[in-house]
């Protein structure tokens, strides 16, 4: 229930930000629309049982590390990609398969978005049922290092929020 309320509040906030209005009528419409969107989306796709019993507060406490860490990954990945494109191009680019913990759809989706936003990695396939993610990376000369880096990044950035 708290997670549902949080989603309604976040969606309503986005609606009000887009309108740049705090008029009571707009707030009411935002609340109704957000609730409708959430109810319909739950009916269209039945919700899976939550993979983790972590309390919401502890998960929210991990958000700064997730955002900050993703920004660091973004800066590093941007630098590597830009240097590669300006230089000789990707000499050792290739596909690497990364095993991912079976934490459910939300965890896999969060992993895909987090990794896919960094330009030096492209998510080719993401299979949460088989627990694998196929990445195309600019430097695939050492696949084990790529896997280790991805798992390390998951542990430090994502696990507390989307286990």
């Amino acid at each position: 229930m708290p997670a549902m309320l949080l989603r309604v509040v976040v969606l309503t906030s986005i609606y009000l930000l887009a309108l740049t209005s705090l008029h009571p009528g707009d707030v009411l419409v935002g609340l109704v629309l957000s609730t409708l969107v959430l109810v319909v989306s739950r009916r269209v796709r039945p919700r899976q049982p939550p993979p983790s019993t972590l309390p919401l507060g502890r998960r929210l406490a991990g958000v700064p590390a997730l955002l900050g860490g993703t920004l660091v990954d973004l800066a590093v990945g941007t630098w590597r990609t830009a240097a590669c494109l300006v230089g000789r191009g990707p000499a050792s680019a290739g596909l690497v398969e990364v095993p991912i913990p079976r934490g459910g759809e939300v965890s896999a989706a969060a992993w895909g978005v987090r990794v896919g936003f960094v330009p030096d990695t492209v998510v080719v396939e993401l299979d949460e049922e088989r627990g694998r993610m196929l990445l195309h990376v600019l430097d695939a000369s050492d696949p084990e290092a790529v896997v280790a880096a991805q798992l390390h990044s998951y542990e430090r950035r994502q696990r507390r929020v989307f286990p």
């Binding site: 740049t20 973004l74 990609t81 191009g89 596909l95 896919g116 936003f117 492209v122 998510v123 080719v124």
Partner: protein
């Protein structure tokens, strides 16, 4: 004083964004295969656009900055999905990258 700092930071972010977009364009034109071009495209669709939107802090206008932050949030969520969709389609069509990896028979893994 703060206004000058914001102007400088905004200008720097705009410059960084434009440089990234230019490098991205060069990369898309130079690189030989779909996967590598997606890395170049990701440079524009991710950090390039984010840097240009973030340069709106120089306007010191709360409305513009709020819209820019919203746009950054949406770009952060949609850009990886777009890249993934293209890469997945290329992989399922059996496209190879420049090193010859990446081919796969259609329908495998479904």
């Amino acid at each position: 004083m703060i206004s000058i700092v914001l102007d400088v930071v905004g200008g720097a972010l705009l410059l960084i964004g434009l440089v990234l977009l230019t490098i991205s364009l060069v990369g898309v034109l130079r690189l030989p295969d779909t996967y590598s071009q997606l890395h170049a495209q990701g440079l524009a669709a991710g950090p390039g656009v984010v840097a240009i939107l973030a340069s709106s802090i120089a306007t010191e206008d709360a409305t513009i900055i709020t819209f820019a932050l919203l746009a950054i949030a949406f770009v952060a969520l949609t850009s990886p999905v777009a890249g993934h969709a293209i890469a997945r389609a290329a992989h399922r069509r059996g496209n190879r990258d420049a090193r010859g990896t990446g081919s796969r028979s259609a329908g495998e893994g479904e």
